[in-house]
């Protein structure tokens, strides 16, 4: 996963909101193009101006994540810019046997197994999923964030309940490599 966040320029900050939004959206599209992998997620927030672009994992190596702290403060130093730590991301693979792949929540929110109430769940235990396939939703502040399988596998367990509040990095679904049987 790769995240790029852009500090707002002072000039844009004081222009009209619609200009700012247009500029931010334009920047997001531009950023989306520079990744060699398929675009995975674009998140634009206008207040405080953040653009986050995520490419699929395969492109990650080519674009080391860079983070700019747009909001400095006196007492807690966020030295910026500086490279993101490897340890910051969900561990993904279970350390014990290396075969279980945990799909964890990328944010605080509410986990949903299906696109809407009453609809069929994205996945059930036993299903085989492709890398990049949607397996659920985490809703945060009314935004539906698709949860994608980072690699192919078979769904071994659905850990989080439908509609359950989840924390950052909380396991949602466990995959095991699909050996074809």
């Amino acid at each position: 996963m790769n995240v790029e966040e852009v500090p707002e320029p002072g000039a844009a900050r004081r222009s009209r909101p619609e200009d700012l939004l247009a500029w931010v959206a334009g920047y997001a599209v531009e950023l989306g193009r520079v990744g060699s992998g398929p675009l995975r997620r674009v998140s634009v927030s206008c207040g405080g101006t953040t653009v986050e672009v995520e490419w699929s994992p395969r492109a990650a190596a080519a674009f080391p994540a860079v983070e700019f702290a747009a909001n400095g403060d006196g007492n807690h130093a966020a030295e910026a810019p500086r490279p993101e730590r490897n340890g910051g991301e969900p561990p993904g693979r279970d350390a014990a046997d290396g075969s279980r792949i945990v799909v964890a929540s990328p944010m605080v929110g509410t986990f949903y197994r299906a696109p809407e109430p009453g609809a069929a769940p994205y996945v059930e235990v036993g299903d085989v999923v492709e890398a990049g396939q949607q397996v659920g939703i985490v809703e945060a502040m009314k935004l539906m964030n698709p949860i994608l399988a980072e690699c192919a596998g078979r769904v071994a367990e659905i850990v989080a309940d439908d509609g359950a509040p989840v924390e950052y990095e909380q396991p949602l679904i466990v995959l095991v490599p699909d050996d074809g049987r």
Binding site: E5, P7, E8, P9, G10, R13, R14, S45, G47, G48, T49, E67, F68, A69, A70, N71, G72, D73, G74, N75, H76, A77, A78, E79, A80, P81, E84, R85, G87, G88, E89, M107, V108, G109, T110, A140, M141, P165, E167, Y168, E169, Q170
Partner: protein, 454 residues
Amino acid sequence: MFNTVLIANRGEIALRVLRTCREMGIRAVVAHSTADRDTPAVRQADESIQIGPPQPKRSYLNAAAIVSAALQTGADAIHPGYGFLSENPEFAEICQAHGLTLIGPPPEVIARLGDKASARAFAIEARLPVLPGGPDDPDATDPAEAKRAADEAGYPVVIKAAAGGGGRAMTVVRDPGEFLPAFAATRREATALFGDPRVYVEKYVDAARHIEVQVLADGHGNVVHLGVRDCSIQRRRQKLIEETPPPNLPVKAIERIGALAVRAARASGYVGAGTFEFVLDEDGGVFFIEANCRLQVEHPISEMVTGIDLVREQLLIAAGRPLGRRQEDVVPYGVALECRVNAEDPFRGFLPAPGLIERFVPPGGPFTRVDTHAVPGLRVTADYDPLIAKVAVWAPTREEVLARMDRALGEFTVSGPGLCTNLSFLRDVLAHPLFRHAKHTTSLVDEMMSTPVS
């Protein structure tokens, strides 16, 4: 009163806020990053919620994550502590839009006072004394105009980032010929650190004392001050030792500066606990420099001399209660001193020296307060500021308070692999003749570092 407060901070201040919540019977939820999941505040919380990875930008500075966490845990208010989102007007607006009370002043007050350039413009409008400088339009970008303001103010001057804080993106210029390159460099630094290139110029006072007034303002137009703190002992323009009342400052002067801050708070429509900062020059001139729209790191010393719990007052004010006291009811007594014990190396320019805390024995004893989140086994990481503990002591007189602090710091044991602290340096400052005789200014630490003790 609130039922549940979400604490959107970490370290000692998360624990500090949590303790008052507990005393008031308020449920406390601690929002934390993955790096802080095993800390005392998280363990003591009624509920905790993991909001992101160690990088502040994606956890403690992530407004969406914090608001989601508050909504998810049923919090009706958010205490931002200090630093992080505590002075972010956009965050205050987001909280408001989601029906959450942010414990602090209203967004428009934060926007006006939190930006240093607009705070200066406010002070001029409110007829508060300010240092010569400019340009008066905070949005001006013309280097020649800034140079003119510097020339008029007279050198040395300091170029400061409007969005700055924590002493970063600040450049002192002593020679007019160095102004333009320094101006460009500070703008670049401000852009990199704060995403905002705006800077302004002020006369720089070499032999200055840095003093500040703690105020409390409710939503009904009542404002009181809790006395004045002297924060002249700084390194890298960050405070190291704070004292109240300021030594060698006549009671009349303290009252006058207190009244000035109360007037500033009223003029700005301030609500909550806040701090108005001033510099005091050699001739006794007082100049407004900035306002802090939050609880300060050094708030315990004001609590010790007044007997007022500032976090409790913050919560009561945010819940709409009127202040329970008038100015004449605030009667500071005695002297209080705070030392910030940091994981840093004084002999390497006070660079943070993070590491693993193996042994940790904080001081105790009479009138000795230690605000800390540290325990043996805690790793001080480079992700956050290097504060390990705040030691605050009280005594009836300054002489006794200095002896008490030296005793307390002498008791303090912090050690571990890679870890380095400023404990012995703090004791050197306490023993310094200029500090003992209260003749010190903001340049004392630099003087000590450049004059080796023989």
